[in-house]
Symmetry: C2
Subunit: 352 residues, 2 copies
Amino acid sequence: MNASAVFLLGISLLLGSGAVYGALPFDPLPEQPPIPADNPQSEEKIGLGKQLFFDPRLSISGTHSCNSCHNLSAGGDDGRAVSVGVYGRKGSRNVQTLWNAAYHTVYNWDGSAKTLEEQFKAHVTDPRIMAIPEGRVLVDRIARIPAYVKQFNAVFPDEGVSFDAIAKALSSFQRTLNTPGGPYDRYLRGDRRAISEQAKRGFDTFVEVRCASCHFWVNFAGPIPGVALQQGEGFYELFPNHPGTDYERRYRLADDQGRFNITQDNIDRRKWRMPGLRNVVLTAPYFHNGAVKTLAEAVRIMAKVQLKTELTAQQVDDIIAFLNTLTGEFPEITVPRLPVTAGRTVMDGYDE
Amino acid sequence: MNASAVFLLGISLLLGSGAVYGALPFDPLPEQPPIPADNPQSEEKIGLGKQLFFDPRLSISGTHSCNSCHNLSAGGDDGRAVSVGVYGRKGSRNVQTLWNAAYHTVYNWDGSAKTLEEQFKAHVTDPRIMAIPEGRVLVDRIARIPAYVKQFNAVFPDEGVSFDAIAKALSSFQRTLNTPGGPYDRYLRGDRRAISEQAKRGFDTFVEVRCASCHFWVNFAGPIPGVALQQGEGFYELFPNHPGTDYERRYRLADDQGRFNITQDNIDRRKWRMPGLRNVVLTAPYFHNGAVKTLAEAVRIMAKVQLKTELTAQQVDDIIAFLNTLTGEFPEITVPRLPVTAGRTVMDGYDE
């Protein structure tokens, strides 16, 4: 699906509760994201997933938890250009925020994972991230931690500790990492004073110059799961759309072929899953390679290379004022206690 | 000060509230540790320190917070043999727990820091840990984060953001990381059923075979600050005390010269600051080089290389039952929100 299809979508799929601008739907973030039928939420499962999320034993070296890169104290990312995994290994892509991730239909910059569950399995076994050689190795390690075994047996009585169960528990926790209630959502719900006049002007500009052609709906990432796209179906765009700019050269925007690396289909060259914009002011630096350090520069570049538009300084300021209203309210999270292996470590043999 | 002096200490400094075994003092962990006169606690300062503790921007690469190695979800350490700092750089020493650290009189395995404040400054500028080249670099970075500046100005009105102020705020938070209320402390306070008969037998063995000659008093690390030792004065022991054992060769126990590396004084060869034993079942692997994977093996080695004693399997089991009673109650900690640099990152220029 691409931008030209989106206007039709916008016209045909207006949601009753939302706002409509230029036939594009915008809606407050629903309190709950879609929950897959095969992984219903439960308090115990979410609690287990939270422990796993903060547990560095999920990396081969015992140094990196999910929270190491997807920092829940901050923007759900690491504030760096590209990720650093175990043993100081650098990745090639900018870490994406986990906040509101459950409202996406596919995962990773290239859409290589169809669900949060798949995304976890890919990251934990990625040699540049957590570098677990295969799921079985992680299962063996977790199965050596008695309190985890007990919890898994209670939450997943049919399977106990398994790679699937680990992925499911983690994903259940991640489906609670949502930030409704920010100024923009309050504005959409009728509080006309929740955002400034400049932010309103910025939103109008955002729609007029057609940023909103792709960045629309609840997560500003296009169609929402279960409505216009099913989970696993992606919304991809070409980036840069207008090639050969100075920006492209300076920030090496066209070096990475994006989704093509996954599909080997020429139609997917430099195609990228639409990133959301919620909490975007917290997630600098920007773009798939993290090459752009400020949001102002990112906005200028997007207008130029996607829309062939030169924004005025005032327009950039206004759009940023609007983007600031997309910062949500973050749930309070208590630091979990991790299950113990009394008097021994499960990290023996992995200390290189 | 060494073990021979300790019996005299034990005899001369009995505390009214504590238990005395073989003239050695034992006391429940006081609710509050000593607070230095030049860094009084306040709620705002502790809150600021907590944010700094969880903030990876305190490492040069933006990848490591204090909590990365001193994991407060677990034993206040990393469960690894030796630390891994920025860029995958390995240290040479086992990470020590931060839980109850405020009850020590000196810091690090070699006593190289006299206070928590000094310990922080050394770790944050250690190239193998957080690798900030000098304090000024960290101050410059923190000073680019507006909400931090506001907080520092409020908490430290005379100095604002400074290396000293960062160290003070962090140390204030660390002085709240205490675990009173565990089974052993409840036992000492009069609840005779708080620990098992085996644990009581283990404690008797611990005293009889003279583990307690060095591991005594509130933190099982010798004299407590402000009573028998002033802050900055260390309690050191020779390790291995009886050289040339198979254990020494197998685990390379005598390779590192310990405090000698700091003082260059021969009397300090293989001298080490007495480690505490609270929560010791959570802090495997063991010893300054983390070479020993289980607590049972650590107990056997300590008896052999320090006390020239071969423990029976039953004695080892009993001592471990006792050590299990030293696991405390952990305070509930909420994950802090970190101050934002909206639409930009302070990590630009540090992304190698």
